[in-house]
């Protein structure tokens, strides 16, 4: 099975190790992974700020990048959600591009979605003897409907103590430019989220989106908390090697 990785601009630049984990894991399941060089970003930063024309041009680049892929897998529910939910709207008036966008949607999956729904794997044979809590990102869970998959994958990890995150359904306050534009609102939200994470006593906070994890982790770091922040793919891949 041929799979292309959509790394997302954030993970490409700041969290390359997340991409490495995804690729290693997919490779372990016999996927032939490639990395189309042309890709950059899904356009979400511009789209969510109201700059739809700018977003559209960046979206075109992404569509071109994956035109010849069979499957596209991304370690971000947010970027996958952007493509699934807003690309058809962006190209509403350009039938040719709209059908290209729809073709991308048909083959594009968020990481945990792909592992569970396409590969049919829920137990990757990982062991992770730590106390872990999980933050369900808003876009992964609400926009894309990815709720069961991460739970199933985490549920099969051996030796792991899982603690439910209080108020898990509340946004962490990232929201892209929201964190900068409405810094005070965002701060209040991330502080409450970080407090909830600390309340669990977990050593590790795991998630499916580096945007949210960067936000919560950035707060935990500033507060000097010892909680480690990991992408689900990192946890699973590390757990397989253990």
């Amino acid at each position: 099975m041929k799979v292309s990785l959509f790394i997302t601009c954030l993970a490409d630049q700041l969290y390359p190790e997340v991409g490495e984990s995804v690729v290693r894991l997919l490779h372990d399941y016999g996927c032939e992974v490639d990395f189309p060089e042309l890709q950059t970003c899904c356009g979400q930063p511009a789209f969510n700020s109201g700059y739809q024309d700018e977003a559209r041009e960046v979206a075109r680049n992404l569509i071109r990048a994956f035109e010849h892929s069979d499957y596209v897998v991304s370690p971000s529910g947010s970027c996958t959600g952007m493509v699934h939910h807003y690309y058809p709207y962006l190209f509403e008036n350009e039938p040719e591009w709209k059908s290209k966008a729809e073709a991308l949607i048909d083959k594009m999956y968020e990481f945990s979605q792909f592992i569970v729904r396409v590969l049919g794997v829920t137990d990757v044979g990982a062991a992770f003897p730590h106390k872990v809590t999980y933050h369900p990102s808003c876009h992964a869970s609400r926009l894309l409907g990815v709720t069961e998959e991460p739970a199933e994958l985490l549920g099969a990890v051996k030796g792991m103590e899982f603690v439910e995150l209080p108020r898990k359904q509340d946004c962490c306050g990232f929201g892209g430019t929201f964190a900068v534009k409405m810094a005070d609102m965002s701060e209040a939200m991330v502080c409450e989220k970080a407090a909830c994470v600390c309340e669990t006593g977990a050593e590790v906070l795991v998630g499916t989106d580096m945007g949210c994890l960067m936000n919560i982790g950035g707060r935990l770091n500033k507060e000097g908390r010892p909680v480690k922040v990991m992408h689900l793919a990192q946890l699973l891949e590390e757990g397989r090697r253990a």
Binding site: Y29, A46, G50, D53, L143, M182, G218, N221, K222
Partner: protein, 505 residues
């Protein structure tokens, strides 16, 4: 106390600085611990109550879809149903006034009040009368208006405006309310719900009897009969609409349902979404003024139907659905921004996610009020909660887009996104830009983090550390990773094609 300042700004209709005051009001709200505790506590309660009430209701998603369909049908045929409703109100002996703007509605009300030589108006809860700042005009004309909803009454004593659609005084705790009552009664009060409610009830009782006019809103008008539906948990709506000799209804033009069958659906959705009740304690359905032989009811019934920016949304492919709103406040109760800052921060009668969408649209003001569209992280909790499925998160993005199209965003931001388009639209430029970013960040990095960045990054670093860009991006590492994997056989049993169903192993 900070609240006074917040309320002061919200109370003055001239203080239209909704957008430019947003950051200041946010800071004030965030500094107010009482407000934050009270808002968080009550919204949590309402939210879990709602979840219980919807769980036991069977297929909630199917109910939402029914609600959405009813509202969308009504709003798409609003002219027809408004006509039918108005005809039926008239046939029942009431009078109907269609008012385009707030001024018209105020004028119509004042004319009725003058004709009736009214001195005292008893008000049931009505957001629309807040929208047109009716209290302010009554005061100017020397007419006393008494709020008879407990929450509204508390705010009247505090000289504040509502900060929630259904729990207007949500930002106050019991002690603060007891303080207000102490001042009013000149005697001490225990901060206990029963005592406080009893005091208000006893004080308000006389007003119902003495008032010349009872003024209410309208939760839903029923087109097929010309009836007005009022829901409340205190029964004040029933008193206000039956005891005074004149009953005036002020309602938004979209608050209709075609039939009683539809009413049943939306009332169920409203009560469950709002407070987690199956139905509110009182549901009054008023059809016309008192008829011969009726034991109670007003002699006159006047219905003021307000447009005030609503009809501008009709036919709009993106925003028309905002008129489907049934004002249940479920979106406020789940909103993580509302939770932190409360309702006054929005600077308008309608707060929370629905307020952030509705206010700029009704006021047709993208410049000031349009700024509210940024008071959201776009988490989508509002859409998930909305019983009539209004895609508020999408509308917020579209409002931002409107602002961009109207060139109302700051020039540096416009330039930045043009640069973004150029750089992220072309991988060669992207690589160049990200490489230079690695070197540019260096003076800012301390122990692997950016802890104090220049604006706009400072908005981030005021509360979080920013990880530094590593020397090698994923794409830089790709060749090496590929070589590593080429040397290694897949570890999991079988290939990807056999892996399907591997979860069972």
């Amino acid at each position: 106390m900070a609240e006074g300042a917040v309320a002061g700004a919200a109370h003055d209709p001239a203080a239209a600085a909704i957008g430019s005051g947003l950051k200041k009001r946010t800071k004030e709200a965030l500094a107010n611990d009482f407000l934050r505790k009270a808002v968080a506590f009550t919204t949590d309660k309402l939210r879990s109550g709602k979840l219980n009430a919807t769980d036991e209701f069977g297929d909630w998603e199917a109910w939402r879809e029914r609600g959405r369909a009813i509202r969308q049908h009504t709003v798409s045929h609003l002219d027809y149903y408004l006509g039918q409703f108005a005809d039926n109100v008239a046939a029942n002996g009431g009078s109907v006034y269609f008012c385009e703007g707030a001024d018209d509605a105020v004028r119509v009300f004042m004319e009725i009040a003058r004709r009736k030589q009214a001195k005292l108006v008893a008000k049931g809860k009505s957001m629309v009368s807040e929208e047109i700042h009716l209290n302010h005009h009554l005061e100017e004309d020397g007419i006393e208006a008494i709020e008879t909803d407990l929450g509204e009454y508390i705010l009247q004593l505090a000289k504040e405006t509502p900060s929630h659609l259904i729990i207007p005084a949500i930002h106050k705790n019991k002690r603060q309310i007891a303080d207000l009552f102490e001042e009013d009664a000149g005697r001490p009060f225990e901060p206990d719900t029963k005592t406080l409610a009893a005091y208000a009830k006893q004080k308000l009782r006389n007003y119902f009897l003495e008032a010349d006019i009872g003024l209410t809103g309208c939760n839903f008008g029923v087109a097929e009969s010309g009836s007005i539906t009022l829901v409340s948990n205190e029964g004040n709506g029933r008193m206000v609409s039956t005891l005074p000799k004149t009953h005036v209804v002020v309602m938004g033009m979209e608050r209709l349902v075609p039939t009683f069958e539809d009413l049943e659906v939306v009332l169920n959705l409203l009560a469950r979404s709002a407070t987690g009740q199956k139905l509110t304690t009182y549901t009054s359905i008023v059809t016309g003024p008192r008829r011969e032989g009726d034991l109670d009811g007003p002699e006159e019934l006047h219905v003021i139907i307000l447009d005030n920016g609503r009809s501008a949304q009709l036919g709009d492919p993106i925003f028309q659905d905002v008129l489907n709103c049934i004002r249940c406040a479920a979106c406020l109760n789940v909103c993580p921004v509302y939770r932190q800052v409360g309702g006054h921060t929005y600077g308008s009668v309608y707060s929370g996610p629905i307020g952030a969408v509705l206010t700029p649209l009704l006021q047709q003001d993208m410049k000031e009020a349009g700024t509210l569209a940024y008071a959201s992280s776009l988490c989508g909790a509002c859409y998930e909660a909305c019983p009539v499925k209004i895609p508020l998160h999408d509308m917020l993005v579209q409002l931002r887009h409107r602002k961009v199209k109207m060139k109302l965003t700051a020039l540096p931001e416009r330039v930045a996104f043009k640069m973004y388009q150029t750089m992220f639209g072309n991988v060669t430029l992207y690589k160049l830009a990200t490489k230079s970013a690695y070197y540019l960040q260096k003076p800012l990095v301390r122990n692997g983090f950016i802890k104090a960045g220049p604006p706009p990054l400072s908005g981030w670093t005021q509360s979080r550390f920013m990880p530094m860009l590593p020397k090698q991006s994923f794409r830089d590492k790709w060749a090496k990773l590929q070589a590593e994997l080429a040397a290694k056989k897949p570890a999991a049993s079988g290939g990807a094609d056999e892996a399907k169903g591997g979860g069972a192993k």
